[in-house]
Point group: C2
Amino acid sequence: MSHTKPATLSDVAMLAGVSQSAVSRTFTPGASVAPATRERVLQAAAQLGYRPNAIARTLTTRRSRIIGVVVSYLQNQFYPVVIEKLSQALQRHGYHVLLFVSDGHETGATVDDKLMDVMQYQVDALVLASVTLSSAIAQGCRAAGVPVVLFNRTAPIDGVHCVSSDNYAGGRLAAQTLLQSGCQRIAYIAGLEDASTQFEREQGFMQQMQEAGVKIFARAQGRYSYEAACEAARELCSKDVRPDGIFAANDHMALAVMDTLRSELGLKVPQDVAVVGFDNVPQSAWPAYGLTTIEQDAEGMVNATVDVLIQAIESASKNELFTSRKITQPVRLIRRTTVKG
Amino acid sequence: MSHTKPATLSDVAMLAGVSQSAVSRTFTPGASVAPATRERVLQAAAQLGYRPNAIARTLTTRRSRIIGVVVSYLQNQFYPVVIEKLSQALQRHGYHVLLFVSDGHETGATVDDKLMDVMQYQVDALVLASVTLSSAIAQGCRAAGVPVVLFNRTAPIDGVHCVSSDNYAGGRLAAQTLLQSGCQRIAYIAGLEDASTQFEREQGFMQQMQEAGVKIFARAQGRYSYEAACEAARELCSKDVRPDGIFAANDHMALAVMDTLRSELGLKVPQDVAVVGFDNVPQSAWPAYGLTTIEQDAEGMVNATVDVLIQAIESASKNELFTSRKITQPVRLIRRTTVKG
DNA sequence: CTGAAAGCGCTTACAG
DNA sequence: CTGAAAGCGCTTACAG
């Protein structure tokens, strides 16, 4: 199965009877080439089926137009949605996505290794979706002039951009929703304890509860996992006196809670227990759940990410200063059927 | 934010007082370097924080260790699962994933454009998950010596590898399951009409029906989409005489069907209508659905893909012949609660 | 085992 | 507007 080597710039130059520079210029938008020259080049290129080699270009320009994206947990539908939107937005801007999925159980060290691995591909920037970054690596990226944006995570690391939702406000909204519906014994199912989203949502939630003068009834760990959330629901609701309202730190867990409540414990939602989630993943809208939830504006977050990315890349290539952005998108309540009223 | 340029091979060589070749060799597994030399190089490298530039290496070796992956529809959980497994398997083999998500509504021409775009990054191979390939592009890849494997799709294109499930057997199994449970009026909800999976599943299904001597009660189009499947369910089940069993060509549609049946039409599954899906996505196991389905062995498909990929890349780089593989993984019935008995 | 040199396919000052 | 030349960071025969 012998294959012919693809045509190169110099093949085209030769055929067209011009210099390499001329060919390069006709493929560089905005470069100055005489119409006649351009014409001959284009023709020769077409004839040879020439395609510029992006790798070679990267080597000389030091811009790969590749963005490294690392993501951790695709079970939670929020991430596939984000990846889809992000990759499409990036494609529209002429960038490509080098994808890494870390399995979530990895230690910081292995994630670091993988990141260094990606860095070898001279990515123009890094976006880390729900992955925390060791400050060592953050340093490394900074030193190498590679912008990094944390997506759906915040971290007080200098030089690292963050885009996330207003988790705090979301937490408040959740508490408010449950409170207003008349719930008396409100429980919280926490996400991964070291995630900023978990922390902020809980903070907002607790703050609102406190202002309403009601104490939290119980707290359980769901670690943002379906199974752990089922277990949490069991733990919370199999006692004599159980919560009548649950705020789960994300939809993925909220769905697990509903499944467990209804099919395992024979409880009705919202009659016996009200449930509020966070994210508004597609399944929340499915009739089997009809989950009342706090929506994260995935589209808005993605757009903000792309904006920051592009600005940061521009600045970095000009070796300019670009102070790190911390962007927060608003959230809103999507009222469906899992809370009374 | 001035950043220092990363150290290069020649920086290391200089510091270590050896030639570039020596440095290159110490970073090439299996190359011959004297222990003492290697030691000095390693030390110098560590001191400078040297990381080989994968892009430069690609340019000389003509192997990027990048695999282009294009996928179309992340709503269907089957794909996130596949991406996760595939990217992890590839990472274990030292490959990286350049991801493209086509929005599914694209015409063949735009997909082709994007593929040419990926090709410019000198990917070592291409895997297309549920995306069909124009034979023009297939030709192009072949000419360029880039192996391509179609994942979960088959196509009679010479030189293109395919890995998919035994959709035909799966279709038969689905019919058999419905038939054995006593269904009399069995309907089929089709996937995208031009997908090989759709065709094969229907073929198997019809064949089994025919052998049992029962005619299909109805057929509707679901196009592998949640919304279209809801519509199909409505169309099928809002008449006076409706099906008592439905085979949906994938789980994503089966879940939509169940949602519509239960919450919109007030029907019970499986008492009023039995449902069988295809894929065994994670949600099928969730208690809200408990969907009886034909499982695709995602893990097995991914492993097969990686195997073929690696063999094909080896052969291609040696300019050897490697006949195109058509691999079919077995499927099995996962019996849950949506079919009686 | 080691080094000098050529080359991978492009871009980019620099002259003209 | 155009071309010759150097260079991006690596690898790989080829001599030694």
